[in-house]
């Protein structure tokens, strides 16, 4: 809402500026027009010139007017007379003198004609050595007004008076504009507020009243549309997540029977070793399906923000230890021994995490090792604190982005050297090539991909780990392991 007063201030400034500019412009134009009009055009000047141009003839009885002045008078249809100083008689006149013009003038007549007219002809006077030159212009040529007189006090204070008038005018303009814009603002404000509230996804209602009611109605409509779209989207997302939850629920019971009976057969001494080996495959694959169902369910919930994340202060070492022990307790045939590589002095590494989700992420990484090494492998797990290991972390970053120098800006998302907790799961199994690693890092996953290309990534395990890390402001890093296989790190801010 700060933008509206700003807008008004700006308009006001433009208005004042334009008034001042207009005023100056008018003065300049007026000045130039009057400048152009004054020279030669003034009747008073013509009268004075005529007086100068009228000379006595050689014999001293008559007067003669210079040729150019005479022709100008004729062109202008002006008549002229010369009134003698002593006799008050007309001693010279132009040829076009109208007959009704008197030939004798009293002093009162002269005073009157100086101020005004001779028989309705506007008269202008000029000096001559022998008397008074009077020029009579055509009746429709000039309007004469010779009465005004000016108070000396008024003239002396004119600049101040002009300034005062200007100030009062400006104040008046300002007030008028202020009232007008306040009214406008009153009707614009709810609309502006409505528009500003639209992106917050809150429902918006603007009262449809006043000059801008159409705009208000449009905003209300937009809000309605947004609301219903949001609702539809939400509905579709939750329908999808619920659908996934339902399907996975329905698969669980039949899968229990597959898994249960297969596990019973594994221990059946009546079966030969070959058959029992096959039941072990059934168990493993059933377990894979089980993990897939669990992952799918959680991944869809995380993707659609339907999974509540309850973060508390947790010891990452204890969590990792619990998961490792769970796997060791469950490992049926000892094909996947796990080695605990955490330094004994690191007994606690606190992170702000949802315990169940973090457990899930770690066990997914272990499960990932198991899934990709069907012939068995040793799994190495360690928890580290980052400052101690910042050099290797920096090296990792460089290997991720070749040619880019790593900058060590403190960032809370575990990308710089800010303190963070690393849970590392590695194996000595089949490993991963550089290209595969690149693809794993860059190809979009099918759950996030909106076009159906063959370039999508499959497998939910790592996606889920990535999602969980992201929901804890952390990240994951995939790399070849020093033990020869594949390695994955979960980095969480401490």
């Amino acid at each position: 809402m700060r933008s509206i007063p700003k807008l008004i201030r700006r308009f006001l400034a433009i208005l004042l500026l334009s008034v001042i500019l207009l005023f100056l412009l008018n003065i300049i134009v007026l000045f130039s027009i009057s400048m152009r009009q004054t020279p030669g055009a003034s009747a008073w000047t013509t009268a004075a010139e005529t007086g100068a141009a009228l000379t006595k003839t050689a014999d001293g009885n008559d007067y003669i007017l210079a040729e150019d002045t005479a022709s100008e008078l004729i062109r202008e249809e002006v008549w002229g007379i010369l009134i003698d100083n002593d006799t008050h008689q007309v001693v010279w006149h132009t040829d076009n003198l109208p007959p009704e013009i008197p030939r004798h003038y009293s002093l009162a007549d002269i005073a009157s004609l100086t101020r005004g007219y001779v028989m309705n002809y506007p008269a202008f006077t000029g000096q001559h050595t022998d008397g008074l030159i009077v020029l009579g212009y055509p009746q429709d040529r000039y309007w004469k007004h010779m009465y005004p007189n000016w108070d000396y006090y008024f003239i002396a204070n004119l600049p101040k008076i002009i300034l005062n008038v200007l100030i009062v005018n400006a104040a008046l303009i300002f007030m008028i504009y202020l009232i007008a814009s306040t009214n406008l603002m009153r009707s614009v404000r709810p609309i502006a507020e409505g528009i500003q509230a639209l992106p917050t996804k809150e429902p918006v209602y603007v009262r449809e009243k006043g000059v801008l009611s159409e705009l208000a109605a449009a905003i209300n409509q937009t809000s309605e549309i947004l609301k219903s779209q949001n609702y539809q989207l939400r509905k579709r997302e939750s329908a999808r997540a619920n659908w996934i939850a339902g399907v996975s629920h329905d698969i669980r019971t039949p899968l229990s029977m597959v898994l249960g009976y297969a596990a019973q057969l594994t221990d059946n001494p009546q079966l030969d070793e070959d058959a029992r080996q096959k039941t072990r495959v059934i168990i493993r694959q059933s377990e894979r399906i089980r993990n897939l169902i669990n992952d799918l369910n959680l991944a869809s919930k995380l993707e659609y923000d339907m999974q509540p994340i309850r973060r508390t202060r947790e010891n990452a070492v204890a969590i990792a230890r619990q998961i490792v022990v769970d796997f060791m307790n469950m490992d049926i045939d000892g094909k996947y021994p796990i080695e605990w590589k955490t330094k004994p002095q690191l007994t606690a590494c606190y992170v702000n995490a949802d315990k169940d989700l973090l457990k899930r992420a770690v066990s997914n990484l272990i499960q990932n090792c198991i899934n990709h090494n069907p012939d068995g492998c040793t799994i190495y797990i360690s928890v580290q604190e980052n400052p101690e290991n910042s050099q290797s972390a920096a090296k990792e970053q460089q290997s991720e982005q070749p040619g880019v120098t790593t900058c060590t800006i403190q960032r809370p998302d575990c990308t710089g050297t800010s303190p963070c907790c690393i849970i590392r799961v590695e194996d000595d199994g089949a490993g991963i090539s550089e290209e595969e690693l690149q693809r794993l890092n860059n190809t979009p996953h099918y759950m996030m991909c909106d076009s159906s290309t063959l370039e999508q990534r499959h497998g939910l395990g790592l996606l889920l780990v990535r999602q969980i890390a992201a929901s804890h402001d952390g990240r994951i890093s995939l790399h070849p392991s020093i033990y020869g296989g594949f390695g994955a790190d979960i980095l969480l801010p401490v």
């Binding site: 939850a245 996975s248 629920h249 329905d250 669980r252 019971t253 899968l255 229990s256 029977m257 597959v258 898994l259 249960g260 009976y261 596990a263 019973q264 168990i283 059933s286 377990e287 089980r290 669990n294 369910n297 509540p308 010891n315 070492v317 204890a318 230890r321 619990q322 490792v324 022990v325 060791m328 307790n329 469950m330 049926i332 605990w340 955490t342 004994p344 007994t347 606690a348 169940d356």
Partner: protein
């Protein structure tokens, strides 16, 4: 076997899927549990409970005529016995609800038979521990009720004594040394015994002995484990009953 008395416990199994009922029953029977009664609905379960008088109930949450949570409340109204939920509903809310209502454990399908047997045994052991307080280890027996270790003094005595032992059980008893356990040792051993045969993490053991947020007790735990070994092992530096899993935890082997 020490656990033999648990195998006679009456187990009520409620699931609407007959195939699954049959499988769970066969898993438990194979493991030696002999008294198993199955039901497919809330009604069947209630009538079975009144005649069969179960000592453990394994319930599904979704039943054709009701849900397992309310069934548990109805069952427990008459008599209190442990309940294990075995369900396809894996949501956290369901889990919390189950535990909140007083379930003893909550298992999500699908499951491995081993897992089910372990959990059933663990619940029974926990609930009916008073009925057989003596737990046999390789070199001793533990009486959790009295917090005592009963250890035979075979090593200190000659051949003569050994023949005497086999001759008269009364005299054997008198030759047994009775070592009492401290409270912490008892708590640690109990936590290990409840998960007998499985690794228990250092953190879980510390929590059992020192309560919530038990960090920084790792060294004390090691000291306690050493003292427990002196009491239960024949040769404490070469333990056979209380095994160290380096960096992770400990495991108690029950014979």
């Amino acid at each position: 076997m020490t656990l033999e008395y648990l195998k006679n416990k009456r187990i009520l199994l409620v699931d609407d899927e007959p195939g699954l009922r049959g499988m769970v029953a066969s898993i438990l029977k194979e493991e030696g549990f002999s008294h198993i009664h199955t039901a497919g609905s809330v009604q069947e379960a209630l009538s079975a409970a009144s005649t069969f008088d179960p000592e453990l109930a394994i319930l599904d949450v979704m039943l054709p005529d009701g849900d397992g949570f309310s069934l548990m409340e109805q069952l427990k109204r008459n008599e209190d016995y442990p309940v294990l939920f075995l369900t396809a509903r894996g949501e956290d809310e369901d889990k919390f609800r189950g535990f909140g209502l007083g379930a003893d454990d909550y298992m999500v399908k699908p499951f491995l038979p081993k897992e089910l047997v372990f959990r059933v045994t663990a619940i029974l052991r926990r609930t009916y521990k008073d009925e057989n307080p003596l737990v046999s280890l390789k070199h001793c027996r533990i009486d959790f009720e009295r917090a005592e270790v009963l250890k035979s003094r075979r090593i200190e005595h000659g051949k003569q004594n050994e023949t005497d032992e086999s001759d008269s059980p009364d005299r054997q008893k008198s030759l047994e040394e009775c070592i009492s356990l401290t409270a912490k040792e008892h708590a640690i051993l109990l936590a290990l015994y409840r998960n007998a045969g499985r690794i228990v993490t250092i953190d879980a053991l510390c929590e059992a002995a020192w309560g919530d947020n038990p960090y920084g007790y790792e060294n004390s735990l090691m000291a306690h484990i050493r003292r427990i070994r002196e009491k239960i092992e024949e040769n404490p530096s070469k333990p056979v009953s209380l095994i160290t899993i380096k960096g992770l935890g400990y495991k108690l082997i029950v014979t």
